[in-house]
């Protein structure tokens, strides 16, 4: 579950930007930036605040960081009509370098990792935590971020399919000229899509780090890219993305927790190979699902008014 939720959040972010027509492979970098600022905030403020309030503010900071960082990608892709993969790659390289650089400059002793104390775990939600099976899964040892993930999912579905914004955004991703010809500002729509993906990716970065470790080392282990795969596997539809995210989350959980699962622990497969599992699984899944893949038609093509 801890692995699935960040995937879900970030992948939904990817859905929004790609539905608008901009491909964002810098999700990984945005996660790192979001995680960095959020964790750093927690690290600095631990002495003074704690508990859920600390986490909530950190969430806000991460989200805002993500939005700001995504503006770089938006500007390059939309205004400058640059190759979206290149600008995405640039941001992916920038983020960890920046995180390490700043961490070492600011922290005493030039230490690269940022520590934090995890004071956010909710051992058990009253009442709901007692529901058999589901209670154990969702309402024990949880974080508010888990619930946040589901809320985001629901909102995404509604926004994408039931609102004016969602309809227009989808039009921009499929046929920007059609949208333009009915007076929709394609640039603005695409900006919105990218910013949403930045927000969700930044948030996702924080959500990824908090439950699973006690320090941040300028990496999210390639999660941003896994999120892209989840998005493709989910065929850009929020509900399917949920299932894809759960599937991958399961894979990753198995990979990390193999020592706890009796029969797997007996086979002496080393940890490195387990780490590979999510990525191999992704490849296999992509191999089978890409043939009939229906990406938004105008994705990754810079919108040029003059071209007809």
């Amino acid at each position: 579950m801890f692995f699935a939720i960040p995937l879900l959040i970030v992948a939904l972010g990817g859905v929004f930007t790609e539905r608008g027509g901009v491909t964002n492979i810098a999700l990984d970098g945005m996660m790192i930036m979001g995680a960095f600022t959020g964790i750093f905030f927690i690290n600095q403020m631990e002495g003074q605040m704690s508990g859920q309030l600390l986490l909530i503010i950190a969430i806000l900071i991460s989200t805002v960081t993500g939005i700001i960082f995504s503006l770089l990608h938006a500007y390059a892709s939309i205004n400058m009509k640059s190759d979206q993969i290149i600008s995405g790659t640039a941001l992916n390289m920038f983020a960890p370098a920046f995180a390490i650089f700043t961490a070492r400059m600011i922290q005493p002793n030039g230490v690269q990792q940022i520590q934090f104390i995890n004071s956010f775990r909710i051992p058990k939600v009253p009442v709901l935590g007692d529901i058999p099976i589901l209670g154990g899964l969702f309402f024990q040892n949880a974080y508010i971020t888990t619930y946040l993930g589901f809320i985001i999912l629901v909102i995404s579905v509604i926004v994408l399919y039931k609102t004016k914004f969602g309809l227009r955004l989808r039009a921009c991703g499929e046929h920007p000229h059609a949208a333009d010809s009915v007076g929709i500002n394609v640039y603005k729509m695409r900006y919105a899509g990218v910013m949403i993906s930045g927000a969700l990716a930044g948030l996702g970065g924080l959500v990824f780090v908090v439950p699973t470790s006690t320090n941040f080392n300028a990496t999210v282990s390639g999660y941003g890219f896994l999120a892209l795969a989840v998005m493709i596997f989910g065929q850009w539809k929020p509900l399917r993305v949920l299932f894809a995210a759960l599937f991958f989350g399961l894979m990753k959980t198995v990979a990390s927790a193999y020592s706890v699962i009796p029969f797997l622990a007996m086979t002496a497969i080393p940890s490195d190979l387990y780490k590979m599992v999510p990525f191999i699984a992704t490849l296999i899944v992509l191999a089978f699902s890409s043939k009939a893949s229906q990406a938004p038609r105008a994705v990754a093509v810079p919108y040029d008014k003059g071209s007809r």
Binding site: T163, K164, L167, R168, A178, S181, K305, G306
Partner: protein
């Protein structure tokens, strides 16, 4: 007389070209006003200015006597101006209803509200006789219906001034007649129509007046009923034009190319794209397959040239079975192909002219040695073709093809394919989007090939071209050959009936 729209002294320039040079257009209320000109004359640009897609460098627009500024389609819409584009601007995986309301959605508390729009659309559909299914997906409906959706888009927004950009390019003669009726109906309800075309027949059929543009400049505005087609054509082109193609009597001999019981599957549905088609082409003959876009021609040609799949059936060239041969082998066996989409299939736009000219020959011993390209030979070849076929470019053989005009790009492909000296030349819509001069030239080339004893298979939906150029006409409808006619024994009307499936003739092979 009150003009409802006036475009005065409009100048619009793009990098390197002045698309509209000081043009004046005046539209009376309730009239159908045609805008005539060749491809590239500036008609679409002018209308895009009116619709707010482009901003002119100079000039003003007036509505009912008042100067107005149209900066984007919303402004145009507010003024009651609507446009049906030549390339439909519909989102393929949205429904008809969603496409109609896009941009002017009604919302309730932030959520889309669809019931009101649905009622309005159905009412409009009744009023103007435009049949549509609001919940059908665009990608599933016919082109004719898609066009009706575009028209409904305008009516839904209460547009009074309607612009049609080359609306008949994709319609059968019968659908064209229907469209003409719809247009007249619209003007009777008080709408004013601007109608872009390069087809003189249609102007004669519905328009009241016509404004002619040539190479971005304004030539004149005349009353349709007092002007002949020849006069209009001369205004459009600047010189007298031959309509008929001169050719000798055909001398068909041996069968060179044979197709037997060809079946090609469709990507979209379980119906076959090509369903049990058989025909042959003889030496020294031009056979034309006529039909509305989307009736299986593309799949047929792809199957014949090796670019697409064949489910069953046989294809023979010079007696040899080529059904399963690779594209290269077919080329080597002497098949040439002028493709439907020159940008997609026929040219590598980012390559130079000479690199494109050797696209099918680069691996032959003449042009390479041990894998290394012999650039001297390549350049010499390119120079020869440029001269022979009069291909006009900025920098000769080194020009990047992307920067060449459509006509010259097509000439490049024609030069390459004709010089290949094939036994069978398959030409698909070879004159699409070209100006009259280029069209004349290409027709001449096709006839020359045929006179030299080659077999030519022409796919076209320009009925004038079909009637003038071919020796035999095969009509294709829904993947089947429904007629085998000689041009002198039929009329355009009859062809139209076959093309729309209203008539069938037993084809004996």
């Amino acid at each position: 007389m009150e003009y409802v729209i006036e475009m005065l002294n409009i100048t619009k320039a793009f990098p390197g070209i002045i698309a509209n040079d000081d043009i004046t257009l005046q539209l009376r209320k309730g009239e159908i006003h045609a805008l005539l000109g060749e491809n590239g004359a500036g008609k679409s640009t002018l209308m895009s200015v009116l619709f707010g897609l482009y901003k002119p460098e100079k000039g003003i627009i007036k509505k009912e006597g008042n100067v107005v500024k149209i900066n984007n389609p919303n402004d145009a819409n507010d003024l009651g101006i609507g446009m049906v584009h030549q390339h439909f601007k519909l989102v393929h995986n949205f429904t008809v209803l969603q496409n109609i309301i896009l941009g002017v959605e009604t919302t309730k508390g932030g959520f889309l509200e669809m019931e009101e729009p649905r009622k309005k659309v159905l009412a409009l559909s009744e009023q103007y006789g435009l049949k549509v299914d609001p919940d059908a997906l665009i990608e599933d409906i016919t082109v004719g219906m898609q066009q009706r959706v575009e028209i409904l888009k305008m009516l839904y927004r209460d547009n009074e001034i309607l612009i049609f950009d080359e609306p008949t390019a994709v319609l059968t003669p019968q659908e064209i007649e229907e469209l003409m009726k719809i247009m007249r109906g619209l003007t009777e309800e008080g709408k004013s129509i601007l109608f872009i075309t390069h087809k003189l027949n249609e102007i004669k059929a519905v328009a009241d007046r016509v404004t002619v543009l040539r190479k971005g400049k304004y030539v004149g505005t005349v009353e349709v009923c007092t002007t002949s087609k020849e006069e209009m054509s001369e205004m459009m082109v600047g010189r007298k034009v031959h309509f008929a193609v001169e050719k000798k009597a055909s001398s068909s001999g041996v069968v060179t190319f044979e197709v037997k019981n060809l079946v090609v599957p469709s990507k979209r549905s379980s119906k076959k794209a090509v369903n049990n088609v058989s025909f042959d082409v003889r030496k020294g003959e031009i056979v034309c397959i006529a039909g509305i876009d989307g009736n299986g021609q593309s799949e047929l040609v792809y199957a014949l040239t090796g670019l697409g799949p064949v489910e069953s059936g046989h294809i023979f060239l010079k007696g040899k079975e080529i059904t399963k041969m690779s594209v290269r082998d077919r080329n080597v066996l002497s098949m040439s192909h002028i493709p439907e989409d020159r940008h997609k299939d026929g040219l590598v736009l980012d390559y130079t002219l000479s690199e494109n000219l050797i696209l099918k020959k680069y691996y032959t011993p003449q042009y390479q040695h041990n894998g290394f390209i012999r650039f001297n030979e390549v350049d010499a070849y390119a120079e020869r073709l440029i001269k022979e076929f009069d291909i006009r470019t900025g920098e000769g053989a080194k020009t990047i093809v992307r920067s060449m005009s459509g006509g010259n790009q097509q000439k490049t492909i024609v030069a390459r394919e004709v010089d290949y000296d094939p036994e069978i030349l398959i030409a698909v819509q070879p004159t699409r989007g070209l100006d009259v001069g280029a069209i004349e030239y290409i027709h001449k080339q096709l006839v020359e090939q045929r006179d030299a004893g080659k077999a030519v298979l022409l796919i076209s939906l320009e009925l004038d071209e079909v009637m003038n150029v071919s020796d035999r006409i095969l009509v294709i409808f829904e993947g089947e050959i429904v007629a085998d006619l000689k041009p002198e024994e039929t009329t355009i009307q009859e062809l139209g009936l076959y093309m729309s499936g209203s008539k069938r003739k037993e084809v004996a092979i």
